[in-house]
C-alpha cells in the first residue's frame, strides 16, 4: 500500500511538474526542433504566410489569440532559438504585436505560445531585400491591380 501511495504521489508530481519543466526549459532558449501540442492558441496575422520580405530594419509580427495566452519570440541561431521578446500575456483585446530587429539577410524566428497545458510553436522567416526591389514589386502590383480593375 505504501509503495502504491508513493507511486501515486510520484505520478501526480510528474503530471503537475512536466508541463512546468517543459515550459521552464523555454525560458531563454528553445530547440529549433521544438513542436507544440496545439495549433490553435494563436493565429499569426502578419506575416500571414509566416514568411515575408522587407527592406526595413525592423518588422512587426502581429497575432490574435485567446486572453491569457502567453507569447514569447525566439531568434533561431544554430540549433537553438535565443529569446528576443520576453513573455507577454494576451489581454482582453486578443491582439498581440511585437517588433523584431532584422539584423541578418534571412531572419528566422520562433513564436512560442502557451496556455495552460497547451503550447504552440510557429516558425517565421523574414528576408531582407533592397529598397529598389521592393519599389519595383510594389509598382508591378499596383499596375496589375489597376489593369484588372
Amino acid at each position: 500500500v505504501k509503495k502504491r501511495l508513493i507511486s501515486l504521489l510520484l505520478a501526480m508530481l510528474c503530471a503537475v511538474s512536466v508541463p512546468c519543466i517543459s515550459y521552464a526549459q523555454y525560458e531563454t532558449t528553445i530547440p529549433v526542433t521544438a513542436q507544440g501540442n496545439s495549433t490553435n492558441l494563436i493565429y499569426i496575422k502578419r506575416p500571414q504566410s509566416h514568411s515575408a520580405s522587407t527592406s526595413d530594419k525592423t518588422y512587426t509580427i502581429s497575432a490574435v489569440g485567446a486572453k491569457g495566452t502567453k507569447v514569447k519570440i525566439f531568434r533561431k541561431t544554430g540549433e537553438v532559438g535565443q529569446i528576443i521578446k520576453t513573455e507577454k500575456e494576451i489581454g482582453a483585446s486578443g491582439l498581440y504585436s511585437a517588433v523584431v530587429d532584422l539584423s541578418q539577410d534571412v531572419n528566422n524566428f520562433i513564436v512560442y505560445a502557451e496556455n495552460g497545458g497547451n503550447n504552440q510553436v510557429v516558425n517565421i522567416q523574414i528576408s531582407k531585400v533592397k529598397q529598389s526591389t521592393v519599389d519595383k514589386l510594389k509598382n508591378l502590383t499596383v499596375n496589375i491591380l489597376n489593369f484588372i480593375k
Partner: protein, 444 residues
C-alpha cells in the same frame, strides 16, 4: 525760381516712392496673377504663427510622413515646425487637386491606396469631415470637379499625385498632378529625424482590421498602431472665468460684448449654484462657475458676421469668445460639414494633441440662416508642465478598455485610437492617454 525747383524735386521723390512701394506690393502679393486670391494669400501668411480657429478650418490635425519604412514613419501634430513645412507643400498640391481645371481624376482600388501609404508619401488626417465642394470654397476655389460625399483622409505620393478617400463609400480617388519636390522633402524629414525612434504601422498592415481565427477585436484599417513609446506630460487646466473663487467681472463683460449684450441694460440674475444668467430679447446666456458658457434662443438668434459660409462665421465668433475669455486659442473642427450642415463641434488642441471631454465637445453650435441659435463653449486655459513620461503601450491600453466589455461581447469595432488628453470637465490636471472610439459592440 528756387522754390519751383524744390517743389519739382519733392514731386519727383514722391512719384519715385510711389512706384517703389507699388512694386513692392505687387511683387510680394502677386496681384497680377489671374485668379489669384489675394485674401486667401493674406490669410495663409497669417496662418504660420496664428492659432486662430478661423484660419485652421481646412488644416489637418495630423500629418504622417511615410518613408517606405515602418521604423521611420513619423507623425507631426499641428503647431510643430515640421508640420508647417510639410503642410505648406501639401496645401499647394491640394489646392491644385480641388481646382476646376483638374480633369484627371481616377477611382483607384483600396490596395492602390494602401500602396501609396506603404511607400514614400504624406498622409493628412483631418479631425472633421468635409464635402469636397465646401472644402474647395473654404480654400478659395469656387467650383471643384470632385463630387463624392465626404472626406477626412488625403495622401500625397512622392510624385506629387493627390489621393483622397471618400468616407461614405470607402472609395478612393487619384488626382494626377506632378511635383518633383515632394520626394526630397520626405527624404529631408527622414534625415532630420534619423535618431528618433518611431515605429508606426497602420492597422491594415497588421491585419487587425480583418477577421481571422476567433478574433473579437477589429481596428479600422487607417488607425495608426504605435509600437514605439509615446510620451506625455502633465497639463494644468485653468477655468478663466473664475478668479479667487469669484467670477472675473472683466471677462464676463468682454463675453457679453462678444454677444453684443449691453451689460447696463441686460436683465441678469444668479442661480443657486452661482451660474450667471443674462436674459435678452435675442436669447439667454448662462455662464457657470465651472466655466461653461451656454447660449440658447427661441427667437432669431445672433446674426453672425464673416461672410456667407456658416462655418467661417462661427469659427470667427469662437475666436472672439476665446479672446474675450482668455481661453486656449487652438481648436479643431470635429464635426462633418456639408451644404446642409447646421450643427458644428470643435475640440481644443494642446500643441496639436486634442483634448477630449467626456461626452462633450469644447464648442458645440447650431446655426440657421446665418443666425446663431445655440452655442456652448467650455472655457479653458491649458499650461503644459513637468518632464515627459511614457504612456501605456497601445495594445495594453486597448486591453484595459475592452476588459469592461469582455464578459458580454462577441465582437468590438474600434474606429479611432490616438493620443489625446481625455478628461472630465472638473479635471484640473490632464495626462495624455489613448482616446478610443468604439463604433460597435456586438453582444453574445
Amino acid at each position: 525760381m528756387k522754390k519751383e525747383h524744390f517743389k519739382n524735386l519733392v514731386l519727383i521723390v514722391l512719384i519715385i516712392t510711389n512706384f517703389m512701394l507699388s512694386q513692392g506690393i505687387f511683387a510680394n502679393k502677386k496681384l497680377w496673377l489671374f485668379g489669384y486670391n489675394f485674401f486667401a494669400n493674406m490669410g495663409n501668411n497669417q496662418e504660420k504663427d496664428d492659432f486662430s480657429t478661423a484660419l485652421h478650418i481646412t488644416v489637418p490635425e495630423k500629418i504622417y510622413v511615410n518613408t517606405g519604412y515602418q521604423s521611420s514613419r513619423f507623425c507631426f501634430s499641428r503647431g510643430s515646425a515640421q508640420f508647417n513645412t510639410i503642410y505648406e507643400k501639401a496645401e499647394k498640391l491640394i489646392s491644385s487637386a480641388f481646382s476646376a481645371s483638374v480633369k484627371n481624376i481616377t477611382e483607384i482600388s483600396q490596395e492602390a491606396w494602401y500602396s501609396v501609404l506603404s511607400g514614400k508619401s504624406m498622409y493628412l488626417s483631418f479631425s472633421g469631415e468635409y464635402s469636397p465642394q465646401i472644402y474647395a470654397e473654404l480654400i478659395g476655389i469656387s467650383q471643384t470637379n470632385l463630387s463624392f460625399d465626404t472626406f477626412s483622409h488625403i495622401a500625397i505620393n512622392e510624385d506629387g499625385n493627390v489621393f483622397i478617400m471618400d468616407n461614405a463609400n470607402s472609395a478612393f480617388y487619384r488626382i494626377l498632378l506632378s511635383d518633383s519636390s515632394v520626394k526630397p522633402l520626405i527624404e529631408q524629414i527622414m534625415n532630420d529625424n534619423r535618431d528618433t525612434e518611431s515605429i508606426i504601422n497602420y492597422s491594415y498592415e497588421l491585419n487587425f482590421d480583418k477577421d481571422f481565427g476567433d478574433q473579437k477585436t477589429f481596428i479600422s484599417p487607417m488607425v495608426p498602431v504605435y509600437s514605439s513609446p509615446v510620451y506625455t506630460h502633465t497639463v494644468f487646466v485653468e477655468n478663466p472665468v473664475m478668479r479667487s473663487e469669484e467670477m472675473n467681472s472683466g471677462i464676463i463683460e468682454r463675453i457679453l460684448s462678444a454677444f453684443s449684450i449691453n451689460p447696463n441694460t441686460v436683465r441678469r440674475y444668479t442661480e443657486a449654484d452661482g451660474t450667471l444668467v443674462f436674459v435678452e430679447n435675442n436669447g439667454v446666456l448662462k455662464i457657470t462657475t465651472d466655466g461653461v458658457l451656454n447660449f440658447t434662443t427661441n427667437d432669431t438668434g445672433i446674426e453672425l458676421s464673416g461672410g456667407n459660409m456658416a462655418i467661417l462665421s462661427l469659427s470667427q465668433f469662437t475666436d472672439k469668445i476665446n479672446s474675450a475669455s482668455g481661453s486656449q486659442k487652438e481648436l479643431t473642427l470635429t464635426s462633418p460639414i456639408g451644404s446642409e450642415t447646421n450643427s458644428y463641434t470643435f475640440d481644443y488642441l494642446i500643441s496639436g494633441i486634442p483634448v477630449k471631454f467626456n461626452d462633450k465637445s469644447a464648442v458645440s453650435a447650431k446655426i440657421e440662416d446665418g443666425f446663431l441659435k445655440e452655442y456652448t463653449h467650455i472655457l479653458r486655459k491649458f499650461s503644459p508642465s513637468s518632464p515627459e513620461i511614457p504612456m501605456q503601450p497601445f495594445i495594453e491600453a486597448l486591453d484595459n478598455t475592452i476588459v469592461y466589455y469582455q464578459d458580454s461581447m462577441k465582437e468590438i469595432h474600434i474606429m479611432e485610437m490616438f493620443p489625446a488628453y481625455v478628461c472630465d470637465i472638473s479635471d484640473h490636471e490632464l495626462i495624455k492617454d489613448w482616446y478610443i472610439e468604439i463604433n460597435d459592440v456586438i453582444a453574445e
